[in-house]
Amino acid sequence: MDCAYVKRLFSPAIDGYLTEFEQVNFEAHLKECPDCQRELELLNKISFHLKELASLPEYAVPDGFTGQVMSRLKETKKSRLLIIPAKWKAGFAAVATAIIIAGSTFGLSGGMKIAKESELALNGHPETKVLEQLPVASDMQPESSSPDRQKGDMLPDKSIDTADADKKLTDGSIRVTSKGNIDPVRETALSSPPAVLLNKDIKLTSTLLKIGTPFPSEVKKKALNFASSSGALSQVYPEQVTDDKKIQFIRLNTSTDRAPGLISELLGMGTVISNQGESRNITAKYNEALASYQELVAKMDAGGDQDKQVLAAQAEALKQQLDNWTEESKNHAIVLWIESPKNQ
């Protein structure tokens, strides 16, 4: 055994992972090589100290750890519930509609990136960060602890632009201090609703285009290029695979006047399976949500028994939904469903 070979055995030797044969030869080499002996001794010493570092008083779990996890979890769950209608899991037939709805809730109209891959999972748990980023009570850390940290850092990167969430903060969303008080600087946001009760209808206009093609990648590329050149914002969802086909979803957000031209172009990119336009009148739903929002604000102002932080979080979620609906009503959402045989 030469030194180079023996060096490769240091680590398994420290861990007791040498074979009998290796052990015998390893020991024989060490007897004749003081350099290797010294190196092994140092590595053993490092290993010994690392093991000592395994238990330190500073590893004591901070007070309230579980409570903080659960509060954050409840908030993310709530935001997910708002984002994922029951339709999500109802199968492909409902998925496209759900994407349209989800798109509005993601605030994509403001922060969506052109043709950027999203990790939104259709059958799993969409990992949105928009609401998670908001400093609702449960998520608050003392101001002194790493003020420059971004909470989302520890999550896998998502393409959804979380800058949007930050923007919402400065745009008047509620903020709760670590002591559970409403930050007076931003408190005014709660007393000014996102919109007044509507005396005209609010409609979400969408189109589901299903096209078939043996060349899904090319069609996807063409569609994204065209969408981009016509000023539409695109969101690509992960490809879904069924027993016999693959389906690629692309959600395009465009202004109402540009939508017909875009749809007509997309229809020419493959065999049209279906072309369904839909206009959902959500005025009643909107007004209902607005009434709930106002009720929450009133409760907070009254300072009742209920936890202000919880109320603030609920109000914020509703406010965001209302804002998103308002924004979405100005646009036309097109969901392009590109279907291809599985063996492509």
């Binding site: 060096k7 490769r8 240091f10 680590s11 398994p12 420290i14 861990d15 992972y17 010294r38 190196e39 001794e41 140092l42 590595l43 010493k45 490092i46 290993s47 100290h49 690392l50 093991k51 000592e52 570092l53 395994a54 330190l56 500073e58 590893y59 779990v61 901070p62 750890f65 579980t66 903080q68 996890v69 659960m70 954050r72 979890l73 409840k74 993310t76 769950k77 748990h125 850390q141 602890s145 790493s146 420059d148 940290r149 909470k151 850092d153 520890m154 999550l155 896998p156 990167d157």
Partner: protein, 196 residues
């Protein structure tokens, strides 16, 4: 883990898989120490350890339907934690370097000025010095995340090569060679920091 606790965990996992938040809260309570400790060993500071371990718990809740009951729940949580940490962007990474002219600021607030060893000093002499352990911690933070992870999992968490291969989703052979390289690099960083 005793049989009764094991059964309790299984039951709590089963309920959590059915979206029972109260059951999941019990799991968080049971495993917070294990997850937080690993979080601290990986990140090396309180704030990041908090963030990482909380995110890991939240991710665990949303992934729990995919957990197979025959696996160890604590190891599964560690797997989430390590992978979350490795995948974290490497921003704000503090490069810890030592200067022979400047005192080393220890985490306990004390400053230690390194003694210059004689040129032919035995490296083992360093081991005798008080700051050796701190130097190891700092050198460890200079390694790549993959190397740090494998060292923490082996030396501090005491996982076997097989368990590490499962946690990091790589072969036992990869664990073996990565651990060897990590240890060598750590040793070199340590020596460089003192013999620069």
């Amino acid at each position: 883990m005793g049989v009764s606790k094991e059964n309790t965990v299984k039951e709590l996992v089963r309920k959590s898989q059915a979206d029972d938040l109260t059951a999941f809260e019990q799991l968080v309570l049971l495993y917070q120490k294990r997850v937080y400790t690993l979080g601290y060993q990986l990140t090396g500071n309180y704030d990041d350890a908090q963030d990482l371990s909380q995110e890991a718990m939240i991710k665990a809740f949303y992934s729990i339907k995919g957990f197979r009951s025959e696996a160890d729940f604590g190891t599964w949580l560690h797997r989430i934690t390590v992978n979350l940490w490795i995948n974290t962007r490497r921003k704000n990474r503090i490069e810890n370097t030592y200067s022979l002219d400047q005192p080393i600021s220890m985490e306990n607030g004390n400053d230690v000025k390194p003694d210059l060893p004689a040129e032919n000093a035995d490296p083992l002499e360093i081991a005798e010095r008080n700051e050796f352990k701190e130097a190891i911690r700092k050198s460890l933070k200079e390694l790549s995340k993959e190397h740090q992870a494998v060292i923490v999992l082996r030396e501090m968490q005491g996982y076997s090569y097989e368990e590490i291969s499962s946690i990091l989703s790589c072969s036992v052979g990869t664990v073996k060679s990565r651990l060897n390289r990590a240890r060598q690099t750590l040793k070199e960083k340590l020596l460089t920091s003192n013999y620069n």
